[in-house]
Point group: C2
Chain length 646, copies 2
């Protein structure tokens, strides 16, 4: 039997797959999201499912206990389907544990986690850097061509070139056969009044398309930050430079691994690259569709897309094999990707529209960081500056106008609201500020846009950690203290947890909690980032105190409490006015690059100029990291302001 | 009934077409060639066929007599099929009247007319003009890349660019996503030894493809002269510049009209453009296949194609609408066509290989003429020169290094062996030289490669005309004289004809004849060319005697008798050493352009520099043309050397 019907419980979702398909893949095909953070390697054991009926063959694994085996548990990634089967996904294996919600709330919640397209993300608007000329990746130009006469009977194409060159100084102007084929008819039917779309493509200017009449007033583009966990897109009016809509969603690849390493491993499997490629493209397409329909723009009027993502994301987006990124000597296939037609990779905008990926530096410092440098402008400053981008990979750049070095650390997706029980993206209803009274552990919180609480976003977690520590709910090592007598602290099968918001106040009706595992997770994240900043700075012969400006980037929302970040040891304890929170700088940089050829040129220069430093080979690294797994640090003298409060 | 079975007699060829298809198109689909010189307009009346059975609807026409109607005659182009039908094609409507041949001879003969790929064409080799650097449209470069290390871990693409730029100075180097996708694997599997194919594309250099190992020794290209009647291709080793094979065939579009005007009309009909496009592409593909298999080259090793054709042919080749070429103010869609991938139009070479069309001047002076100027070099000379290209359109260029003017005349395909009863291309067995003894009209002739006579090529017709006139077979107006008593002159239903070669000496067993209609045809051709040369020269303020060099081009073969050409009034009566016969200069120019970027740059400059002059609006034109319809001319004083002989 070649085709098997798979029924996923409890949602009763059905899908037909060919015999031999593994359950993890079948789940994806059915739109059922099964946890998996190792990329289907059989290592993480997070994709346990229960086979209720039918024939499934499973590879041996140490991740399933004897009891679980008796109960029908298998690893979805290592079990193949050989007949019609029924598979139950237990709550622990769903991508979010808050699946069982009231119906309305469930829809709301799911929209956030796996929205067809995410809601508007709160984000910091960087002031537009006026240094860049307004010269978008694709520009529309309305032309009234003089009709040919016997005295002026040059060809249609020469006539078009002549008119364009009257308005623009373009050394190499070219076009493809598709436009030549339809040009004659369009010119004559539109009475020689046409709009040309000019695109900047690999150092030349291309006539991308020709439309009858004047459509120059409607020209739109998208800037994307393609993160390992979260993807955010801005729909921009290329004429006015205004952002019309911002949409965010989790990267659909997330089922295939939490971080870039597991994605790369998965991509190396048969069909894996294609799958991850299609998932990221699907995510982008859904965001595009949502943004465009919100502001009533036709996909045809979207003429270009600028993407900033880490090197793995860039490779997967373009369906380029990322295998060599993770193998010594860690080389990308290309860090300057060619500008292509978006349709070449299945992105649904104007069929002739362009897609450009901002250049990256190396396997582990990608375009998102280059875009961040562009956005904050540290590459133009005399002073020593640092950029800290707290994504799933925490990347750090140090330098000034003369030099730039960078490194990468595995921070994990906690600050993006993923991999933590109550986590959500920075969206309406996300808890972003928290205060906890010592003693009675009373909680005051505020949410983004004052929405009913749905979960905790990155900045909320930072606040929580600082407040939990200050109030004495957790100790310096992050352990939740027993015996406080507070009803907010309760014990479950999985250990202690702290109830931040009670169910009667939440959108879902469920308590919003912070578990011991969440806290450990967040401590690892903050420790990884601090360690990277410290080791990189020392490696270059500086102390953290020598840095005159620290730009903080990440998708936390429009709020980050510096004091609290310092108090948990996420950020170094230096003068507070040296910090500047710039939000999603990868997205901001992508917008600059979309809107200006100067900016995109600058990203190329930055990508060439920046040096990547592999921190894990530094002798001091492991010691530093171990010390950073405390609140704020084992060496409290490094955090004098925190010490003072104690 | 939607699908109808059509049986063509006498060959009993069958084809299924959808109801409503006209018989002319059904014939093409069946591989049956029906005469038609008006492009299916219902004007020429040459496509008469006899409906033997089945339902056919015919539009009224004055081209079919009442008697013919009774006998079942209809015009193929104006009759649609509405059931299974049987159609007989009478001999007069076949594209050649010499269809009924012995079996072997028939194959031989048909090979010449509608060969799957023509035989080697005799042609003049122009000396290679050493002024052009050796820089083909596509070049192969073998590279040994240093494998990446931790100290040198730039991306694969940068590594490739770095190595290419060590060997070549290339300002704008680019490549597409397809190569980026497969690059990583190729580099590693081939141990970092690869061959890149570099193509010159619209002012930039493109990495066209990447192959493992060293294939740089095998890189081939094709130069094509795409004529209205005849297409000739040369397969060239791009490394050694040597021509490996030359193939010629009639342009398969010929069934859809004899000249460019009828082709353009046909292209304007529903589906017409696609059909003509596919026919010329088919012709090219068959020639490519024949040439490549002859010298055992794989199509994959053919990396580029350079085409020279008139403006209509260039448009049809690229499937660009030629409609506006023939409508006032006569503008091409493009005379500088973009360089494309040959596969984009269905040309079967390396799937990523390039196709370039040499630039043309105007609707009626195309790339073939620009290529001709390149080949003869008249654009570099101080002296006043003229280029006369005797194709189906006779084009003439006058000028020197400072200026160039051109014009076009409708010569018809007679000099290419088409549209005349005994005509063949300049191929083995074609009668190319003729002497006729006055009095007994004894004929001495020689054929190309001394093959058994199969027909008369262009140069043979010129000799014939001169000799028929000298011997008194025809009078000054071209009429065959009655009452000479010679058995070579005979009367048929269609009028008088002259038997040049008796059937016992021919390859086909059939007499090779020249009819009165043929003679009229040739007089019109020679008159059109002389008139154009004369009027253009006078228009520019010169006399024909002022011209210091006349380059004669055309697909006559490797022989043209200047004296005889003058004696029939085809060429002006000036010093004989001013003439230089250069053969197929369009093909020679295409070869230069294929092999050198300098040459292709020169064609662009020439196309821009040359002015087109419309002769038909000159007041003197019609008088001049009427005078030229005599042998040699009504004004014998213009031909003093001929007058002297009289």
């Amino acid at each position: 039997m070649d085709s098997c019907l798979v029924t996923f419980l409890p949602d009763n979702k059905k899908v037909r797959v060919s015999s031999g398909t593994d359950i993890l893949n079948a789940g994806m095909a059915a739109g059922v999201y099964i946890n998996s953070s190792c990329g289907g390697e059989g290592i993480c054991g997070r994709c346990k499912v229960i086979v209720k009926g039918g024939r499934v063959e499973s590879e041996p694994t140490g991740r399933i206990t004897q009891e679980e085996t008796k109960a029908g548990f298998v690893l979805a990634c290592h079990s193949t389907i050989h007949s019609d089967v029924e598979v139950e996904i237990p709550p622990s294996s769903r991508l979010t544990k808050q699946e069982i919600l009231t119906d309305e709330a469930k829809v709301h919640r799911l929209k956030g986690v796996f929205s067809e397209a995410g809601e508007v993300e709160e984000r910091i608007e960087l002031e537009e850097r006026e240094v860049f000329s307004h010269s978008p990746l694709a520009t529309k130009l309305f032309l009234t061509l003089p009709p040919p006469t016997l005295d002026d009977n040059i060809s249609d194409l020469e006539r078009l070139y002549r008119e364009i060159r009257k308005k623009r100084d373009i050394p190499i102007l070219q076009t493809g056969l598709a436009n030549v084929k339809k040009m004659g008819r369009i010119f004559r039917q539109s009475n020689w009044e046409v709009t040309v779309l000019l695109g900047k493509r690999n150092g030349t200017t291309e006539i991308v398309s020709i439309e009858p009449g004047d459509s120059s007033g409607r020209n739109f583009g998208l800037a994307f930050d393609i993160g390992t966990t979260t993807i955010v897109g801005e729909l921009i009016d290329l004429n006015t430079k205004k952002t019309l809509s911002t949409k965010a969603a989790y990267n659909k690849q997330a089922s295939y691994g939490e971080d870039v390493i597991t994605r790369m491993i998965y991509a190396g499997k048969e069909g894996g690259l294609e799958k991850l490629h299609h998932l990221v493209v699907d995510t982008l397409n859904e965001l595009i569709m949502a943004a465009a329909s919100e502001v009533e723009i036709s996909l045809n009027e979207i003429t270009c897309v600028m993407c900033a993502g880490n090197m793995t994301m860039a490779h997967l987006l373009l369906r380029v094999d990322p295998t060599y990124l993770r193998r010594e000597p860690y080389v990308p296939i290309a860090n300057f990707m060619p500008v292509i037609r978006a349709a070449e990779v299945g992105i649904k905008i104007n069929p002739r529209g362009l897609l450009e990926c901002i250049a990256g530096v190396s396997s582990y410092v990608g375009a998102d960081i280059v875009a961040g440098v562009l956005a904050c402008g540290m590459d133009e400053e005399e002073a020593l500056s640092m950029l800290i981008d707290m994504g799933t990979n925490g990347e750090i750049v140090l330098g000034n106008k003369d030099w730039l070095v960078s490194c990468s650390s595995s921070a994990g997706p906690a600050f993006e609201g993923s991999g933590v029980v109550g986590g959500v993206r920075a969206m309406e209803g996300a808890v972003q500020k928290v205060e906890i009274t010592p003693g009675d552990f009373e909680v005051k919180y505020s949410t983004i846009r004052d929405g009913k609480a749905i979960g905790i976003c990155g900045s909320g977690y930072i606040d929580c950690m600082a407040e939990l520590s200050k109030a004495g709910v957790i100790d310096r090592s992050g352990k939740i203290r027993e015996g406080t007598g507070s009803p907010r602290i309760r014990e479950t099968e999985e250990g202690l947890e702290f109830v931040l918001v009670h169910g009667d106040e939440t959108a879902t009706g469920e308590d919003i909690i912070i578990t011991q595992a969440d806290i450990t997770n967040i401590i690892r994240s903050k420790g990884a980032i601090y360690t990277a900043a410290k080791v990189l700075t020392n490696k270059m012969g500086f102390e953290l105190e020598d840095i005159e400006r620290i730009y903080l980037a990440g998708g936390f929302g429009n709020y980050l409490n510096i004091d609290k970040s310092v108090s948990i040891g996420l950020l170094p304890d230096i003068e507070r006015d040296k910090f500047r929170f710039i939000g999603n700088s990868s997205l901001a940089g992508a917008k600059f690059a979309l809107l200006s050829y100067d900016a995109i040129s600058k990203t190329r220069a930055t990508a060439k100029k920046m040096t990547y430093i592999e921190l894990s080979v530094e002798p001091s690294f492991m010691n530093e990291y171990t010390g950073a797994l405390f609140i704020p640090h084992t060496d409290i003298d490094r955090f004098p302001s925190v010490k003072l409060q104690d």
